[in-house]
Symmetry: C2
Subunit: 171 residues, 2 copies
């Protein structure tokens, strides 16, 4: 893992390279006229280290531990920018709050889909696609792009049902 020291507002930061790392994120921000701040840096850090889809409040609390000046509003604002840039995916499992996760998966995590339990709200990620599945998905996206003249940027695939525990409770 490569490292680099940068300096924001007089404070030194280590830029770790998770996949397309922070350095790259900085570039993306800058290129679009956004400024890099301590808060945004910390939010990116939290997202990069998370291994689950976090809610805005989850992110706020994690950032707060490291940077207590953070405000919930800024978390929402930054997430909004990140989603628009395409760096972050925003999901909704129907539990009343949105969930966010880095589009470029750090730590070797890969793209995954979700199994959502309608009983206990648990969400299981699975990423063990069969090659056939990936190939067909790609083919489907291409066909849809052409047929509906629609540029596909991302997809969301969720299976709803009951996990083992909830199924047994239903007896």
């Amino acid at each position: 893992m490569t490292m680099e020291i940068i300096c924001i507002n007089g404070v030194q930061f280590m830029l770790r390279e998770y996949g397309k790392g922070h350095k790259w994120c900085h570039g993306q921000f800058k290129a679009r006229g956004y400024r890099m701040t301590l808060g945004r840096e910390a939010i990116l850090d939290v997202l990069a280290q998370a291994n689950r889809h976090l809610s805005a409040e989850d992110i706020f609390m994690k950032v707060y531990k490291v940077y207590p000046n953070i405000g919930l509003t800024s978390v929402y604002r930054t997430l909004d920018i990140l989603v628009n840039i395409g760096l972050v995916h925003k999901f909704d499992f129907g539990h009343g709050r949105a969930r966010y996760e880095l589009a470029e998966e750090p730590k070797g995590r890969r793209h995954h889909h979700h199994l959502v339990c309608t009983g206990c709200s648990r969400v299981i990620d699975y990423e063990d696609f069969i090659d056939e599945e990936v190939a067909l998905l790609k083919k489907t996206e291409e066909a849809l792009s052409i047929k509906y003249n629609f540029t596909i940027m991302n997809h969301l695939i969720q299976f709803y049902g009951l996990c083992q525990i909830c199924r047994n409770e239903g007896k």
Copy 2:
């Protein structure tokens, strides 16, 4: 289309058979200890006649025209029951409000997936699956069921991107 007259609270109602029709819905309600009321009847009617995913307020307004006694609260309550029974699917396109549609598709409509434009929030339904797609989806569901011991009841597949209009505006 078969018809049948029933009587709720002294008022006559025609039970139309949309796919698994109202008669069947009544049975589902009763079997679970719920009562059939004018409001619920009207909500089912609206859902059966809708050809797009409606929000709770959409449904409220449509029902109101036919049954002005309806309250928004009851719409939410009934939808909640219908979702739990499995008669209605609840979607969230990330626009701040949930969308509902009958699981058993009336009027010959079939199961479909969504193209969601992140620019204008438009939602395009498509139901022209390739046979291959259906077959693989089924296979995937079976594999996931076994691997994660998870009973799959439903799935949600959405492709996010830009429609023609929004893509051109982005220039």
